[in-house]
């Protein structure tokens, strides 16, 4: 088969325009496959990050939180503010029928002043009851979050001394979280004791009116609830809304379902577009190879005349296609891999959709898939042409190609 490979390479070199045109077609197919799949997986990753961020069946926030955004925005985009619910309401919510466990979160917005390194959302959680933030932190940091430690989102810039100042005091950055593609990448997380300390400093330093009448030790900005088996989260949320007037409860499933539907729709459209371009490229490849094999009938007949068997001729044709497809795929990946980063950012900023790019291993698998699919397609098409050519009688082929 060395003979076939050598002849294939020589044919490619000797026909630069034809080779470049076929390579460009494969390149287009690779770009389309890679970028399409990457965007779909990024959207899916964003949705999964949302899901894992929620963790809870029901979310409860004070009614005053609605001034800062919907419950969806607060939890999914990390849009927080300084709003707090009373100890009495927290207890009532915890005592609602169907509630299995409850975890409090405390929100605080840092000030854009000399007392703070940056204006960010700070989220305090209870490590002993939390089932929403800790699993996510554990992906990046396995150590204990001690008093005075903070964990920051991936977009927060961390100084070299790993100290960030909030309300006049420096806090140690214990870990930097993995990217979620959401507003939470700009948030800071810490334990409940630490955030209470921050809140007291905030009340002292800038005399925030939000803290007036709030018992910092026993309050919460949000409650994350898990319901008992056999209970419908929506029913529990409705129950809380009916019986506690100063809070708003929402079942997390309903929060994510709209987004999930939207993302599924967009993913579906992208998949259809990728499929359409793929089918289009496939048809063009089919036509090009059919035309080429027709145009090259005489050349193939000459191979047969000098003694090439059907298998040898097939190897020459498939080898030529394989080399072109590999070259085209490599060029396609060289173009599309660097493109996928700005493209994700563009989709994220222009459509405000959660995007979480696949990790390196998945991207590598995507690269392999985007290279292998056009290769297999091209080789299969050329094999079909080869079968047609080798089945024809050489004497007739020579006459047709004359």
């Amino acid at each position: 088969m060395k003979f076939a490979f050598n002849v294939s390479l020589k044919n490619i070199r000797r026909r630069p325009f034809r080779s470049a045109a076929l390579g460009a077609l494969v390149m287009l197919l690779t770009i389309c496959l890679f970028l399409g799949a990457e965007v779909i997986l990024s959207l899916q990753g964003g949705l999964d990050a949302y899901r894992s961020r929620l963790g809870a069946d029901v979310i409860v926030t004070p009614s005053s939180a609605s001034a800062h955004g919907s419950v969806d925005d607060i939890f999914l985009q990390g849009i927080t503010g300084n709003y707090y619910m009373s100890e009495k309401d927290i207890k009532k919510a915890a005592d609602t029928d169907g509630v299995q466990s409850i975890s409090r979160q405390f929100y605080l917005t840092s000030a854009k002043a000399g007392c703070c390194s940056a204006r960010v959302q700070i989220i305090g959680f209870e490590p002993e009851t939390d089932f929403s933030v800790l699993p996510w932190i554990k992906e990046s940091y396995s150590g204990e979050i001690r008093n005075g430690d903070i964990v920051v989102g991936s977009e927060i810039s961390v100084p070299s001394d790993r100290q960030i100042k909030f309300y006049g005091k420096k806090y140690n950055v214990a870990a930097i979280l993995g990217k979620t593609g959401t507003g939470l990448d700009n948030a800071v997380f810490t334990g409940y004791d630490t955030i209470k300390e921050m809140a007291r400093s905030a009340a002292d330093i800038i005399s925030r009116k939000e803290f007036s009448g709030v018992n910092i030790d026993n309050t919460a900005s949000a409650l994350l609830i898990r319901v008992k088996d056999g209970y419908d989260p929506q029913t529990v949320a409705d129950d809380i809304n009916i019986h506690i007037t100063k809070v708003q409860a929402k079942a997390s499933k309903s929060m994510i379902s709209g987004l999930s539907d939207g993302l599924s729709g967009i993913s579906g459209i992208i998949a259809v577009l990728v499929g359409a371009v793929w089918v289009f490229c496939f048809i063009i490849m089919l036509m090009v190879f059919a035309l080429l094999s027709n145009e090259r009938k005489k050349e193939f007949a000459v191979f047969r005349i000098i003694g090439a068997s059907g298998k040898m001729l097939t190897a020459v044709m498939a080898g030529e296609t394989a080399v072109l497809c590999l070259a085209g795929s490599a060029a396609g990946l060289l173009v599309s891999v660097p493109l996928c980063f700005p493209l994700s950012d563009m989709i994220h900023s222009s459509l405000s959709l959660p995007l979480l790019m696949p990790d390196g291993a998945v991207l590598a698998a995507l690269c392999a898939g985007a290279a292998v699919i056009p290769l297999i397609t091209g080789v299969l098409i050329s094999l079909a042409s080869a079968v047609r050519i080798t089945k024809a009688e050489t004497g007739l082929l020579l006459r047709e190609g004359a």
């Binding site: 000098i306 003694g307 090439a308 040898m312 004359a402």
Partner: protein
């Protein structure tokens, strides 16, 4: 090695008034003799090319058999038949049949390298091209050659494996008299060295070089006495 045809014939589909096929070659017996330059002459469309293609293993006869030695060519599988064609039958087809992706030297060497390389293939190819008068064109691509040069390259390619049988279809068509004379001389020498050469032509000039002459008329092959 002998090439022998037993009752070979070939029809082609062609819509006509009374029938949907025409007979290109009627049932024919034929044998190529070693050390002999055989010519088949006849008008265009008389069936000469169809007949030579059937002898080479390039066109399956509708009836009869072709034997290369004692092997019935069309009863062999494709791989074996292709191998025998490569090793034992040098074919010079009608028209220009250079592989344009290859240089002149590569075109000629391809015949030898197809089933494993031979150590002296390069020297052999160069000497054949020199004998054909185009030794200086070794590194030129075949599409850069003139018609006469291309024909000589194909002849060199056909002789590359020293096949005992050489079949040439109109090898001197549309060539000038000087090139024609050179090619005929090459065939003569090849036959004189003990090989069987079959030349299909309608050129009268070629007839004087032949040992045996046949005429094909409407698919019927008949022997012509040499004058």
């Amino acid at each position: 090695m002998k090439l022998r045809a037993e009752g070979i014939s070939r029809n082609f589909f062609r819509k006509g008034k009374n029938t949907n096929f025409f007979t290109a070659v009627e049932k024919t017996d034929f044998e190529l003799e070693q050390g002999c330059l055989t010519e088949i002459t006849g008008h265009s469309g008389s069936g000469k090319t169809t007949f030579s293609n059937m002898l080479c293993g390039l066109l399956t006869p509708d009836s009869g058999r072709v034997f290369l030695g004692d092997q019935s060519l069309y009863e062999l599988d494709d791989r074996k038949r292709s191998y025998l064609r490569n090793r034992y039958i040098g074919i010079i087809p009608q028209g220009q049949t250079g592989l344009h992706g290859l240089t002149v030297l590569e075109n000629v060497m391809l015949q030898a390298e197809m089933y494993g390389s031979t150590p002296d293939a390069r020297e052999k190819a160069v000497s054949l091209l020199e004998a054909a008068g185009i030794g200086e064109l070794c590194e030129v691509y075949s599409n850069e050659l003139s018609g006469g040069e291309l024909r000589r390259m194909v002849i060199a390619r056909a002789m590359m494996n020293d096949p005992p049988i050489l079949i040439a279809d109109e090898p001197t068509g549309d060539l000038d008299s000087e090139t024609t004379a050179l090619i005929l001389e090459l065939f003569r020498k090849y036959a004189d060295s003990g090989n069987a050469v079959l030349m299909v032509t309608h050129e009268k000039e070629a007839l004087c070089h032949a040992d045996r002459i046949f005429c094909m008329e409407k698919g019927i092959l008949s022997s012509v006495p040499k004058k």
